[in-house]
Subunit: 648 residues, 2 copies
Amino acid sequence: MADAIRALAIDAVEQAKSGHPGMPMGMADAATVLFTRFLKYDAADPRWPDRDRFVLSAGHGSMLLYSLLHLTGQAGMGIEELRNFRQLHSPAAGHPEFGEHPGIETTTGPLGQGIATAVGMALAERHLAARFGKSLVDHRTWVIASDGDLQEGVSHEAASLAGHLRLDRLCVLWDDNSISIDGDTALSFTDDTLKRFAAYGWATRRVDGHDHEQVAAALSWAMRNRKPTIIACKTIIGFGSPAKAGTAASHGSPLGAAEAAAAKSLLGWNHPPFEVPEGLKTRWEEAGRRGAGTRRSWLKRLAKHPQREEFERACTGRLPEGWQEKLAELRAAQAAEKPKLATRVASQKALEALVPAVAEMVGGSADLTGSNNTNVKGVPAISPGNYAGRYVHYGVREHGMAAAMNGMALHGGIIPYSGTFLVFADYMRPAIRLAALMRQRVIHVLTHDSIGLGEDGPTHQPVETLASLRAIPNLFVFRPADALETAECWELAVKRADGPSVLALSRQNLPALRFEAGENRAARGGYVLAEASGPRRATLIATGSEVHLAVAAREALEAEGIPTAVVSLPCWELFALQDEGYRAEVLGSALRVGIEAAIRMGWERWLGQDGVFIGMQGFGASAPAEALFRHFGITAEALVATVKKRLA
Amino acid sequence: MADAIRALAIDAVEQAKSGHPGMPMGMADAATVLFTRFLKYDAADPRWPDRDRFVLSAGHGSMLLYSLLHLTGQAGMGIEELRNFRQLHSPAAGHPEFGEHPGIETTTGPLGQGIATAVGMALAERHLAARFGKSLVDHRTWVIASDGDLQEGVSHEAASLAGHLRLDRLCVLWDDNSISIDGDTALSFTDDTLKRFAAYGWATRRVDGHDHEQVAAALSWAMRNRKPTIIACKTIIGFGSPAKAGTAASHGSPLGAAEAAAAKSLLGWNHPPFEVPEGLKTRWEEAGRRGAGTRRSWLKRLAKHPQREEFERACTGRLPEGWQEKLAELRAAQAAEKPKLATRVASQKALEALVPAVAEMVGGSADLTGSNNTNVKGVPAISPGNYAGRYVHYGVREHGMAAAMNGMALHGGIIPYSGTFLVFADYMRPAIRLAALMRQRVIHVLTHDSIGLGEDGPTHQPVETLASLRAIPNLFVFRPADALETAECWELAVKRADGPSVLALSRQNLPALRFEAGENRAARGGYVLAEASGPRRATLIATGSEVHLAVAAREALEAEGIPTAVVSLPCWELFALQDEGYRAEVLGSALRVGIEAAIRMGWERWLGQDGVFIGMQGFGASAPAEALFRHFGITAEALVATVKKRLA
């Protein structure tokens, strides 16, 4: 049965003239044991909520996964799809892509992401088991990871967190083949990996990855263990290839026709390309139906379960009835009370309205809870052995946090939100990118969003970070101007089911600027906050903590007889989705001046050829916030002077 | 003597009304032992090349470092500077900033960066000792790291690399205080850290961080060890503060006047703020002169050393005489021979001309040597115990690689260059940002720079990465169009002494477009590659692998009687530095069409209000490269059609 995987991997890579045969050939045995005897799944319904999750962290070995999906009889991964491996519109893409086939649990390929995402899936399972009970939620997360996955830093962060939280439903099969692209891993890697994982609180074991009984015994042991487990499967990369097995030559290129034939001959595989003999295919399909009975029993339990509706709602990502009510009350109160708040504090108030209403929201922070204002009073933390809480102390592990959040969202039943400083978005950027690529609802609360954080200085002051996040396709970047707009942005981020959002929030207090709460004006991405008193001579366009500067400048300009409008632009991505007429009306045809305590990049789109930008030209400095805004010339006075000079 | 550090830290944080007193108070004892008995330095010349390096990885505890610089009598860190802690223009910034004071070896604050940077410093020392001998290069790298540093993934990558390479001149003092911002580290962190480091091949030891003799014994032991060492210093954060010691309350805020007074009273410190009694100051200044004799002996050895000139040249970063000669020959040959090469292969050819000529260049790749084309035949790798090589197999550790490279550049005597895929710039972004902030000459070779990489699909295809890198201040992003322009860009990157560079290079072959090699035309960032045959009606502006599409489109348009120019824009940052007249002349006033296999962000700057952009709108796909360029409409035909439509 394992040789069927090997043969399909060889054939598909040959056909595509590119790909990675070595890993599927090396791990075919361990994967066969997992899929035929341990993994809980039903090929007839690959999205069954209580299935075990399987994550191929070593995503370059995608043919291992596609072969398994094909052999177990999953719809949508027929032999034609395998023949079209790595071709346009084929679900069998170069690396597994979430959304291309229901049997693909997550997008992998960037090393380290899969294992860290799996930690989030395992955490989601424990949390939902605590919420809905073992009769509905009782499954495992299995990972195949490579040497490269374990060299990546994110594997440290995620494994350390998993060990701390004792996520005992997580089992990693490490493809310990001692080969990476540059050659023998000994060129660069002499860790005692199992000792490292033991230091995180994992249980560890070593097996011959080609010995099915050893693998099976280790998987049984993993299921009995009360810790996360890692099994070092000693394997030979490209197993079966007479000339290339055990070498980097089998890693990332086709074997070549002659070597492919020699490998099949060595394996005793005498079938034409892409053909699996009937009997073998039948045995594989039987394996794919192994979980059918379990699934039927589960469906029966679900049908009678008192939390059925709630469970189904949570799993499908529908928000509960009335989830916006408290938030609407908050917005109305803020319109009336005009609070002067840092938007990070306003965010906490929004969370106080949302978290009790949306049971799926699970928050956390990378050790900046008090600074990010991400926790809500009375919400308990998730702790080792107690998963009913709804807040995760992620530790100083931004990257692991973001990747785990992807796993929580992918698992279903959870809307994860995080906290760290905006500048540290850089630490988690590879995982944010994957959230955008996979269109997952994860929300990052990123505070201290400019030089306005003051004394901590340039290492902590984002200047290019907003631009770099706005560059990521499918990511919504919100930068609200006051408390009310913060509540609006939170509403939009939670409502958005098809992609991630970032909220960039101020450390410093900001005056209230909005005094009506009827319509969620941030929903259009940008809007006229204050119209000019007469035909516009200037439009001041700002985001976040600079909007109040624009409002102050407008007052001064109006007082001098210069009719001036102020536009708040809290979400560029939403604004870009509006029709051109609306955008033109908002931005106007008068002089446009942009103001943002960040670099100019991207602003040209809104300012046009003749617009002016007031912001940062380079990195910040260490000083109190007000001193910095003056030093860098980001003030209402500078706005006024610029407008008057341009109109003169 | 340690209490002097504590008192100054308390006073400066009180005065600034912000900062982190807890860490300096906790680590004052261990730091005192290090600076008074072990660290090799001479306060009279903080840049002496053979000094030990001291890295405060826990940069938030900056007052620890500033106190030490002040107490040991370093110029430029007087009591006025400490009084101006965290104020504009003070060298005593919120976090240590490289360049603010010569005693600050590196910028720290973003956690994990310091320890990883130190690994590069320790590697640089070993390499230069192999090159120049022990009589000139024989020093150590000492690090103070926090719990947070060790939670960050980059600490895993760097520590694993250091253990592998047996960097025995590296010693980390871990401030094991069990407190992080959210509270007790046990909230999120239960690693057995010493076991983890032992798994990397480090020697480990545990001491009471307040017991000077225990610390001294451990530092002696570290100096005798043949492995990198980590010493867990069990400390009490905020040591001396009666109410806040041992709690997160002392971490990131002033103690407050009452508690500050109580702490000083408990410590028996009866001196006014910012005053250190004469006798104590004298003892500290004597400690600061401890290394003076050693430095004088070293200067005498240097004066007689046969490699003196070469050593001084390398340390100051001056390039050797004639370093460009082979590169000039290569450029001339390429102008004549017009090779069709992937720019990653052209980069290898440039390296073949540069690496033998510039002994400071030390290359490497994050396990993609063959794909990045970063190695040069005959150049040996650095391996454990043998540091004379000039190539580092960094393993799949992009972040650790980039941070270590920062350390190599900061150490001096090395121009580090790396390799990975462009999309994985995200993994090392925090370290790239620091290189830009510190203006260090590090060069990243980032290949597979667009959908042109083909089948590996969207996880590997950068679309937003160019924009996100161009957003980083001080970073030069080069994207050359052909072999000759690649050589030009390499020349510029090596010559640039005051900041980092990135070379974005194609996987796929590209035709030669440039046929003269006299002037380095990339030096102006952008230039007219092909002028229109008559008054311009269109200007096609492109970078890298899309320039040849613009050239093909120009031919077609010219054939149809539409005079069209082509502009190559290999480095936006250099182009932006040219005078406005030059830029206007290059870009012209005719219809501007930009083409780049990436997102539009930033292009508005060159295209103006009426320009058109042809590129990517979102993530890529898995298919052969040619199919993808067609699928996404990035072709010469699309350019031609766009121009004709716009001019119609």
